[in-house]
Symmetry: D3
Subunit: 298 residues, 6 copies
């Protein structure tokens, strides 16, 4: 239904208004940001990396040892192409507009080839995560069910890829990946967090894991657990932020729903169990069992 001519004139005035609003000094007026990476392409790359890891679960085609190589190529090429282009955009943007480091022309290709070269190893770690989910949730009836329908698998798979790129110093892209996983699962893991194998988050909604957190092997957490920072101001040259602002969770720790653990010097000792809704800002010894009781009515 075409609009009447006078409406067109009013609309053109509204356009003028928005155009003029880009003339001021707002941070969001930056027009150079058009050179930034493209979210959709980053998500596309992720969606090609996942089948590489869980081929049998994603393929629409019968697979055998004979055609496995084709199945892998089919996802490797587009993943490579999309990631190289988006990383190149991110890096060039940082170098041009935000005094980021200058990289050699082929750097983004090198980074992606290193990531793809590490998939073999990531598959081992993620297999341990899948097993941990199976062992950790009595309601799970098969490995297939876990790969297909556990937000924990979606979130940790994306995190391990994003973390690998974050370690390489790739800007922006790892955060876009983390945000994508957050949108789909309600689980917010900063790409900087270091998480060892056998990690499981049951249900997962509301989980937050901060940039400098370290989680050991076979850690299990429930929905709504925060592993966060105490200090939330931005550092400056006078009072720089400490490098480690988020807790260390040692091997075999279990943290129940809604617990909050804060602070870069907080260490949850190996094998500890932290109860639901507990609020912790100091370290606990290995094999501690920490339960708040105040609100439990029994």
């Amino acid at each position: 239904m075409p609009s009447a001519p006078d409406r067109i004139r009013e609309l053109e005035h509204a356009i003028d208004g928005v155009v003029q609003s880009y003339e001021g000094t707002l941070e969001i007026n930056n027009l150079e940001s058009a050179a930034l990476p493209n979210k959709r392409a980053v998500v596309l790359a992720l969606n090609h990396l996942k089948p590489l890891i869980y081929m049998g679960f994603y393929s629409q085609r019968a697979l055998s040892r004979d055609n496995l190589r084709y199945g892998v190529s089919e996802h490797m090429y587009p993943a490579y192409e999309a990631l190289v282009e988006q990383i190149a955009r991110a890096v060039s943007y940082e170098a041009t507009f935000r005094s980021g480091p200058s990289h050699a022309p082929g750097w983004s290709g090198d980074v992606v080839l290193r990531l793809l070269g590490r998939l073999k190893e990531l598959r081992q770690v993620l297999n341990a995560d899948v097993i941990a989910a199976y062992e950790g949730d009595p309601a799970a009836t098969s490995i297939e069910e876990i790969v297909f329908s556990y937000p924990a698998v979606e979130a940790i798979t994306t995190h391990r890829i994003a973390h690998a790129l974050h370690q390489e110093g790739v800007p922006i892209i790892p955060r876009i990946m983390a945000y994508h996983a957050h949108e789909r699962t309600g689980i917010d893991i900063h790409p900087g967090a270091t998480i060892d194998a056998g990690f499981f988050m049951d249900h997962g909604t509301g989980v937050v894991i901060g940039e400098t957190a370290h989680l050991g092997k076979n850690v299990k957490i429930y929905q709504g657990v925060t592993i966060g920072a105490l200090s939330t101001r931005r550092g400056d040259s006078v009072r720089p932020l400490p490098k480690k602002r988020h807790p260390t969770i040692e091997d075999d720790v279990t943290i129940y729903a809604g617990a909050t653990i804060l602070g870069g010097e907080t260490v949850i000792g190996k094998g500890s169990v932290i109860g639901g809704n507990v609020w912790l800002t100091k370290s606990v010894e290995p094999y501690s069992k920490i339960f708040g009781r105040a609100k439990e009515v029994d």
Copy 2:
């Protein structure tokens, strides 16, 4: 932007690496899983079942008693076709690779026809859920607003479909449906949970309801409520898991935001009100009012 020949060679090496990584014994190396159901098709089926239930709210076309049958057919056929195929895949996979029961060839068609035959009844129950949402949220201005924009409606509609298939013994598909609802609403209801009519979850983000939970009529819960299990280890032949691991919530119970109720023998008596953030692992009498106070500052 085509890549240079030497890049192609390196990429082909990375492909070899991933292909070789499928030769070991990782659980995720299973190539047979290509015979598994397809998530996208399951979601497509769901997206045709919803208009059957809330026809007037989804139709892009004027409806009257005259063309209602066409409107219903238009969604029934594709829902039937997609579900029959996906259930057949799931069942055949279970039978072939995981010693699941063998079903007669037409079994998946029978199951889907029974589900479609029950839509009439599901519509009555879901209507009660919609009314419960309208009565339970003073901010709601119309039934239309609730069907259109309440995560509770999205989640409980999907649950009632997934639960019907779960009761039939359909593998995997109900979990895929539940995960889809979880992704979109932040509400995680296991398809096994039994939930009576008139159920409302306000806001909903972070709600978790376990496999063997039973919720009576007119239960109302808020965001972040967990109705979960105490024991989280996987059972085995020596110490089998109890069949009922999640609570029973009787009719007319209200549970406020963030409350956690755990255990298969825990019964929340009819008409009780459970306060926000309360942590409960034992039964409470009918008409109890349980409020934690420890953290309230007043």
Copy 3:
């Protein structure tokens, strides 16, 4: 795989069943709702409004002062067209079927032109929100990262648009927008809530902000914070609901993860800090620091 003729007959019976189920008096049997707005079109409009606000971050094309006007037009026209049509549908539905107010024929066009005319001003407020996120999260490395990957930006941008339409008295559409943001971020803000500039929600999952809440400048909240109502019954002519049912949060307040603040007369005084998981139903003085301690184990 076409179904056999006898299956077709059974399926046609199931169709009859569903058709008959629309003959009763269920609220969800309303067939007139086909005249309701279309969710997809509302989301499309939102997806054209965002680039208008953050042009440089969304454009796939190099931008300069020379072609900025084209970039703006490219999104303004489809946003205008989609919104005018959907608002017209919503308003006409309300007027026809729910005794909503009758508006002049061009009303929806007027409303949209007013919204578009206010984008200039909304951009200023949202810029302050983006800056607040940058200042409030030490892990953020750039403005670009915030616009690209912070759920808070997604949620508050959508809210400011939905709120503007809610203020104009547009029915249903603002709720569809809010639900869309809720789905993507886990943040549930009622379009009626009034929120001043410089608002930041870190992580965000599980945040709930009620219809009559008012938040002042530079408020910062964390995941799982509820700013809700005490009374949750639906008002009637005998006991009408109070107009203000949700709290007032004054300027410069910080509320940590999982805190719950309830009640229309509850005022959190300027500059206060509310601790994690705190449960508050009464007002606190300016510059209060309220921390629950009961469950903290230290």
Copy 4:
């Protein structure tokens, strides 16, 4: 690959040039033509009308007497909707900008309902065309092959629909349909041409049939046949064009490849056979056999 800023400036100059070129008096400068029908929608309607006629050949779904009505509805609704809208646009354009007749508001709906009501009858005529093709081409092995892969079927089906609308006085739309068939088959039949049942064009490429041509029953023609006008000037008030400018071909005539038959008073008598490449501008008796020989070398 974003363009450099100076390129943007040059491009903006080119835009200015084109914009200015719309200020003159060229016929193609008419901006009102945006209210014209949309080709794509007209083709969409055609693509829904064809399955109504040849249901069994187009359905992707098993058909039986039980679900036939659904199959018909599935195409009838979108065909109706698309045609009503496009005819309304065409008629309103003619009335507003070209002093076309004013029609009552529901006129385009009436026309489409009449067309749809005549489908029953069109199906009988087209069945005769299909049979004629089968009888007329020894290479055809089945009716199915003819419906699927004979340009004659594509062209005559489209013509019979376009002709029905042309008879109703619908402007522009019938020509768009005819052009679409021309593009796909190389057969150019003016929507005004009257063609009786049992018509077959073998191969078809290059066939031209003019506006006032009349073809009787069971006419068979080959590729490259022209049934055209002698006079090709546009008439005016002094020398109006004769109403009938194209030949009459009586029943059971066969015209071989490349023959050209011209003139409104030219009548090819019943049962005649016209040889390949023959050029005819005068009538021939019934049962004539006309062969040119000049170029035959034997």
Copy 5:
């Protein structure tokens, strides 16, 4: 724009009319034809076969010896899958409804594997066709231009594939392929025609080559040439059609635009040149030069 209720009723009547029209005995009332192959899938298969033949001309990705195998697999798998399914449909339809031969279950897979196994050989023949086009058209500036923009290449490539399937006895599919090429090029070659290597059709529009025609090596023809049958009646048991109804064109013959050559016993001897618009129904000696002159005015 939703239609009014009374319009819906009229439309439902039109639907009834069409449904009833399927109750008679028209040939096009056949509902079983829903089991027929799907045109779109056949075209999809063709569009995967062409890149296999002209890989370098179609690939969007840099190719080298290293990734060529991936490039081939990428098109071979979907071509195989689409063809096997469509051929199986065609064969099963013929067997069930038209007393066609019964084939073993894997027959369609065998046929497709044989076709794919012959691609190596087809590529040699088509290379000769491409060279013939380059040599035969002085306006061609490169092989690339010919593969990209010569209808002859489109048509002969499709023909060689369709002919291979026709030789295998595959029903319907070859005709669908031929029709697709006809639509795009105006060139109508029956899949039964036997055409040796080095075949070129300049411009091509209007070319017709019949089912039992045989063309030798290095034949060159121009637009509008017909190589057709004299007799066009359908044979029966009393007067069966001769097996060979279309001409034989020996090696190195050139036929200029618009020439018509008819009859199963007509042989155009090696090296002959047939002039434009010539009409021939008898054989000519090798190295003949046949030119009609009648209409030339000089």
Copy 6:
């Protein structure tokens, strides 16, 4: 329907066969051609250029002087981007693999800007073509009908764009454009042909116009007319082809259906009329009327 493992093995053998077939010396084995332009992108560019010329006929949106500039920008930007990229590919391919001329890096941008700068002038010429069609076909009822449904307009519009690029020395792209028009209209005009304003081709199927043809103002031709070359051998250094190989048609000439005019020295004098199916290889005086009569039977 996944294939069985043994089928996969056979298919992999077929893949090996095709891969090996690329090892020989066939011209179509060239793998570098992957750097060639992309047909789809060229067609996309054409589809953006047409609305620039006939804006009012293509716009889906109400147009006025106020938003015309936006409408123009909306097509100019994507046309520019697609053409620059494809021309750059074509030129770089020619320079790298076929010793084509080396152009400065910005050359393709310059060429496209020149083309876009000439649109103003092309619109004048095409307007004359449209008027010529209106005057020349008594069946045309409006300018709108001509722009919408005359193959002549499609073909000449594409030709004038392709010719402009051909004059600039752009390789391959003009031929791709010409082929696209040929596919859709059956009209084959070489991009090198020079055609003055006011050109009309009635019906058009089968028209062929050669590379060095020159057509004056207000030429009108009918379906099946060839304006071609006498000599069709490829030139070489000993016997180079003459530069002008196709006829000159002077102003105001009319050529009826199926006529063939050949030879670079053939000149059809101003105002001549050439009859249907006439075959001409020598020049004719101005105002000649040439009709063959041999096959006319009257």
